[in-house]
């Protein structure tokens, strides 16, 4: 187990270093999300009261689109010079690679959220009427839900034609319960009209189920030719 976590840290460090040098994912992701925020604020110009109700949906749809950009980049990095083959011929455990990718994506998307949230607050004049401390919990659980399946399906779409299009086609249907939970929980906290507890529990359950499933099945996907 220590070798898995050690290898995971090494892979994560390698990915972060590559990202800092090339800045492929983070730049496109940032600009893309900025565009989404601006376009959304043109398209929906509600009063502050109304906006509180729909903000949960807007925020998460923007994050979802931005996450897809990042997720497509993760494996693209491993496909250049076919470096993934070097991993596949080595005795290294496949789960270390998967977990490193998930954690890496989690970090990217979280950084992005930290930068985008102020923009949303400014454009929509948001303020939580419910228990605000729950928002980071929802964000963390929701982001994990997106990236754990997203990383898995991005690896899966490597083995298909037109892989960049395949990722959302696979990811979105499976993510519907998680998206519903994120949107509803965020809405509940912002409006303060009802409790977000159930949605947080649901998100946690979703994370546990799909993290375990991914760890079990990732080996199949990676070793598929």
């Amino acid at each position: 187990m220590s070798s898995v976590s050690g290898l995971m840290r090494a892979t994560l460090a390698k990915d972060l270093r590559l990202e800092l040098r090339s800045k492929d994912a983070i730049n496109s992701m940032l600009f893309f999300s900025l565009l989404v925020v601006v376009i959304f604020s043109f398209s929906f110009d509600p009063t502050a009261e109304e906006s509180r109700r729909i903000a949960g949906g807007l925020v998460w749809v923007a994050f979802l689109f931005a996450a897809v950009v990042a997720l497509n980049q993760t494996w693209a990095r491993e496909m250049r010079n076919q470096v993934l083959d070097a991993y596949r011929v080595s005795p290294a455990p496949t789960n270390a690679l998967f977990l490193a990718k998930v954690v890496g994506n989690f970090i990217f998307v979280t950084v992005l959220q930290a930068l985008m949230t102020p923009l949303f607050i400014v454009f929509y004049n948001l303020r939580a009427l419910g228990p605000g401390y729950q928002l980071p919990i929802v964000a963390a659980l929701g982001t994990w839900a997106l990236v754990v399946n997203g990383t898995f399906f991005a690896a899966m779409s490597l083995r298909t034609r037109s892989r960049e299009i395949m990722l959302p086609l696979l990811l979105f249907p499976i993510s519907i319960p998680a998206l519903l939970a994120m949107v509803e929980a965020t809405g509940a906290i912002l409006t303060g009209e009802f409790s977000a507890k159930f949605w947080i529990v649901l998100l946690a359950a979703y994370d546990v189920v799909f993290t375990i499933a991914s760890l079990f099945l990732f080996g199949f996907v990676l070793q598929a030719e």
Binding site: S3, K14, R17, R21, A86, R88, V89, S90, P91, A92
Partner: protein, 222 residues
């Protein structure tokens, strides 16, 4: 001495195209094999199958006495046509990461050692993406040597490498062979290996058509 690699009736098909059409062969340990043939003869597919990257459609591969390739992959070195290196990182950074995959002990020392073996400078901080093709090729070979493998699978190691460096690589390989490694080299530059390779294996249309210890013997009889 038992064979290092045994392949039995190996068939690999991509849809309706047969890349390997029943390859059966035994390869003894501590030998340097040159695998020759035209484009599309199945050389690369054979190498990828041996590396465990391409599961065969039919047939079996036994390596170091086992058919469970996953269990011996730590004793394999594989060099592909693409470099299998991260362009944005330096040679040492690249090898440092790959050494982790093989759980190499004394990793910095070992990385410097293999980089030295391919006549590159371990202190070079330039990212691999800015190397010349030949340097990248040699770094790629260094990567394959990292885990001190018993079996080396090299796909076109000499392409785009200047003659002097290629000769150096050949002498490195013969040294490794003499130290007990089994080496497979897929190449178009057969003359480079004349006198160095123990056997020349000729492939055509997915099959092994002849094996000679003398390069000239085969060249004269088409």
């Amino acid at each position: 001495m038992p064979a290092a690699v045994i392949v039995t009736d190996l068939v690999k098909q991509f849809g309706r195209f047969a890349a390997l059409r029943g390859v059966t062969a035994e390869f003894a340990p501590s030998r340097l094999y040159a695998i020759l043939g035209d484009n599309g003869a199945g050389k690369t597919t054979l190498l990828r199958a041996l590396a465990g990257l391409t599961p065969p459609t039919r047939g079996s591969i036994s390596m170091l006495g086992t058919t469970d390739l996953r269990s011996v992959c730590g004793q394999l070195g594989y060099m592909a046509h693409p470099s299998l290196l991260y362009d944005e990182m330096s040679g040492m950074e690249n090898l440092g990461y790959f050494a982790r995959l093989y759980d190499v002990s004394n990793k910095d020392q070992r990385c410097a050692e293999v980089i030295g073996a391919v006549k590159l400078d371990p202190s070079l901080t330039r990212p691999v993406g800015q190397y010349s093709q030949g340097m990248r090729q040699r770094m790629s070979l260094a990567r394959a040597l990292l885990n001190d493998p018993k079996i080396l699978l090299l796909d076109e190691p000499f392409s785009n490498v200047d003659l002097r460096s290629a000769r150096e690589m050949v002498s490195l390989l013969t040294g490794l062979r003499d130290a007990g490694k089994t080496i497979f080299v897929v190449t178009h530059q057969a003359p480079l290996l004349e006198g160095a390779a123990d056997e020349f294996v000729w492939m055509e249309a997915g099959q092994i058509i002849s094996r000679t210890s003398d390069l000239a013997a085969r060249l004269e009889t088409p």
